[in-house]
């Protein structure tokens, strides 16, 4: 339980979406499971430990340090991509040669449901292409972008 909460708390800080929005996608368990399967429990444990440190000290400074970290930075960035797109993107080749390549580290949409839950659509004031159609003539109305927070 602690792991799930840590994952969502860190994801919230990284994505700019509230924890409740992330829980609301229904994807947290699926993403955490894919992450562990792809990069291993140890890497995920170190990533979440770095996330837990956010509470103490300056979060911006800690997040900047995390994203610049050779091992954890690319993983953290992929977590952001995962939430925003519902898809895993392969880690950089340099990361794979230094920290180990996983056969699961291939580009893939996690599921039709994860694609529908991609945050990028919400961030731009649209809806996932192919799902959640906002209704007849919705495209004629002035666009709005929901504010963060």
């Amino acid at each position: 339980m602690k792991t799930r909460r840590s994952f969502v708390a860190l994801s919230s800080a990284l994505t700019g979406f509230r924890e409740v929005d992330l829980w609301g996608t229904g994807q947290a368990d699926s993403y955490l499971g894919e992450l562990i399967a792809t990069v291993g429990e140890d890497v995920v444990a170190r990533l979440l430990a770095a996330g837990d440190d956010l509470a103490s000290g300056d979060p911006a400074e800690a997040l900047g340090r995390l994203l610049r970290d050779d091992e954890l930075g690319p993983v953290a960035k992929n977590v952001v991509v995962l939430w925003y797109t519902g898809a895993w993107r392969p880690l950089p080749n340099e990361w794979r040669s230094r920290f180990g390549a996983s056969p699961l580290d291939v580009g893939r949409v996690i599921s039709p449901s994860s694609y529908r839950s991609g945050l990028v659509w919400k961030a731009i004031g649209a809806h996932p292409q192919g799902a959640n159609g906002p209704g007849f003539a919705s495209w004629a109305s002035p666009p709005t972008v929901p504010s963060a927070g």
Binding site: G16, F17, G64, V109, A123, H127, A131, G133, P134, W139
Partner: protein
């Protein structure tokens, strides 16, 4: 069809298995099955068999939702992403296309064997419903001068039918497909409508982007090649459900009739409308008489003629009936009929004839055309609501005809609502670049929210002239899993089209400037469809508008079929589809194909003496 000089074929004998066999259960097969299936001899319905190479699709709502999920779960959302093709009836895929070099030709990556010099980049779907499963649903009529290109501009071939003759069939096609448009928006360049005519549904509302572009562009005068034209952004006629006009009831999803009665703005018309508010031939199939027999997973491999004379009638079709996952069938089966219709697309129809003996009319397979499709893209100064609504709800149509067609291709221009999606893989690529720059949290959100909703693009579709060298042919060294030769394609884009690209580039730049937009167009010599003209580079892709490989004309020497799409050589054979178009001009061809299919259906009934 009183003017048909053709001798009625009649019911040759009761010995034939069927009155009519139709090859292909796509849009043409569906329309023919609908019309012919409701005809009868006395009280007996016509005996009709439809053979479809691919699988059945969308028989039920949940069946169709599996295709939707297949699309949503695909990493690369290309037009064929939702549609699963069989190993025994493969479909070409845009992901198969690679740049061609003299050393890589022929390139047999995928289903096509590409002989170049440029790759043919369009795909299609071999399945019940055909490629109109993934069409955009743009339903423009051709302009009257498009039927007279040879007489007016000195290229190609005049059509053996005029706009006026085709008009009533355009109406039938518009009502069959369920086209949403207002007559007053569609009267340009000589296009006329019958007094009192209305489309089945009123126009699809313009997008916020359309209105924004129209607000600046309408009334601007551009001078291209010395001709001044006042620009107008027009609502595009679209076969997707809108507000019905009197006398029309929208048709919902196949197997879920209350779904899809209006377009819901799912923004995925290509490749799949999840609610089926967009027309697909599945809707027509839902209305076909149950007396029509449809056999899917039956690949027709050969036309068997009654003798070796070049004008021998067709005696039978040979086909393989397969089951996915099982070994290929060892021997083909045969079926006989009084009338045979090839209703495949402009590559599958000639492929079948070229695989048959005797060698067909020399026009078969030649004059392959498409609409080379070029994009230009930019960022608006403010949010224009990208990624909302159907892909394109308006366009500039007034540049589709003019004296300039003596020298360069006409084009139509789409205003596109879906940002830069398949050009740059947006919005995902924008997100990834922002993340890779080190942005996160609120700053990341703000960056995406600022940039992506301002994306828009123009799409240009150019008329490609019939060139006998652009062709489909066979090489027995390349066969599919059933041993059937795969289509070999020689394809190029000539200077006529390239000059059109230069003209459109100038237009695009001036429109971006007028809109205060910042252009981001970048063409790359590493893309498969890379061409230049006078030092101007372009990337084109295929529009999926395959046409021209069994062109219709006024005589045997200039064409493969007559104006009813009946083979000149074989009196009981019809070749129906976009392959019959002598020229492709600038309108997306499906509506015209459907109109021609209605006209051919009447000719077939006349042949059988049942009208």
């Amino acid at each position: 069809m009183g003017q048909s000089a053709h001798r009625p074929v009649g019911r040759l004998s009761e010995v034939a298995d069927y009155d009519i066999v139709i090859v292909g259960a796509g849009p043409v097969g569906a329309i023919l099955a609908r019309v012919l299936g409701s005809a009868a001899v006395g009280s007996e319905p016509l005996r009709i068999l439809v053979l479809e190479a691919g699988p059945a699709v969308g028989r039920t709502w949940s069946d169709y939702q599996a295709n939707v999920d297949h699309y949503l779960g695909s990493s690369i959302k290309v037009p064929n992403a939702p549609w699963v093709s069989s190993a025994y009836a493969p479909s070409p895929d845009v992901l198969d296309v690679r740049p061609l070099t003299p050393d890589s030709i022929p390139d047999d990556n995928g289903y096509f064997v590409q002989y170049g010099p440029l790759p043919f980049e369009s795909d299609y779907v071999r399945a019940q419903g055909g490629t109109m499963l993934h069409w955009l649903a743009t339903s423009l009529r051709m302009v009257p001068n498009d039927f007279e290109i040879r007489s007016r501009y000195g290229h190609g071939l005049d059509w053996p039918v005029s706009y006026d003759e085709l008009q009533p069939y355009y109406e039938r096609a518009e009502w069959e497909l369920g086209v949403s448009a207002n007559v007053e928006d569609q009267e340009y360049l000589g296009i006329t409508f019958r007094d009192g005519y209305h489309f089945p549904m009123s126009r699809i509302p313009l997008s916020y982007l359309d209105e924004h572009v129209a607000g600046t562009v309408d009334g601007l005068t551009v001078t291209l090649d010395g001709e001044a034209t006042e620009l107008l952004v027009s609502s595009t006629p679209q076969a997707r459900n809108s507000t019905p006009n009197p006398g029309y009831r929208p048709i919902g999803a196949h197997g879920a009739e209350h779904m899809g009665l209006r377009c819901e703005g799912n923004s995925s018309c290509i490749p799949i409308c999840p609610v089926q508010a967009k027309y697909s031939p599945l809707k027509t199939w839902g209305l076909v008489s149950r007396h029509v027999e449809v056999r899917t997973q039956c690949v027709v491999s050969k036309v068997i003629y009654a003798g070796s004379a070049p004008d021998a009638p067709v005696a039978a079709l040979e086909y393989y009936s397969y089951t996915d996952g099982l070994p290929p069938p060892a021997t083909p089966e045969r079926v006989t009929a009084d009338i045979y219709v090839l209703a495949g697309n402009a590559i599958e129809n000639p492929k079948l004839l070229l695989a048959s003996e005797p060698t067909p009319n020399d026009n078969i397979g030649r004059h392959l055309m498409d609409h080379p499709y070029v994009l230009s893209w930019a960022l608006m100064p403010e949010n224009i609501g990208a990624y909302r609504g159907p892909s394109s709800t308006s366009g500039i149509e007034v540049l589709r005809d003019g004296a300039f067609r003596k020298d360069r291709a006409a084009f139509r221009m789409e205003v596109v609502n879906w940002g830069w999606d398949f050009i740059t893989n947006s919005p995902f690529s924008d997100l990834e670049s922002a993340v890779d720059k080190g942005l996160y949290g609120a700053e990341l959100r703000a960056e995406i929210a600022d940039r992506v909703p301002r994306q828009f693009r123009f799409g240009f579709l150019y008329e490609q002239l019939p060139d006998p060298g652009n062709r489909v042919f066979l090489n027995n060294g390349y066969v599919d899993a059933l041993g059937i030769p795969r289509p070999c394609i020689a394809y190029d884009v000539d200077d006529y089209v390239r000059k059109g690209m230069v003209a459109s580039q100038g237009l695009s730049e001036s429109l971006f400037a007028a809109l205060g937009a910042t252009e981001y167009t970048r063409y790359s010599d590493s893309k498969p469809g890379y061409v230049t003209y006078d030092g101007w580079p372009f990337n084109f892709v295929g529009a999926g508008h395959l046409a021209g490989t069994h062109c219709m004309g006024t005589k045997r020497s200039n064409s493969a079929v007559d104006s009813f799409q009946r083979s000149w050589e074989h009196e009981n054979l019809y070749l129906i589809g976009c392959g019959s178009m002598p020229t492709v001009s600038t309108s997306n061809p499906s509506l015209t194909m459907a109109a021609l299919a209605f006209r051919s259906a009447e000719a077939i009934l006349d042949d059988l003496g049942v009208r």
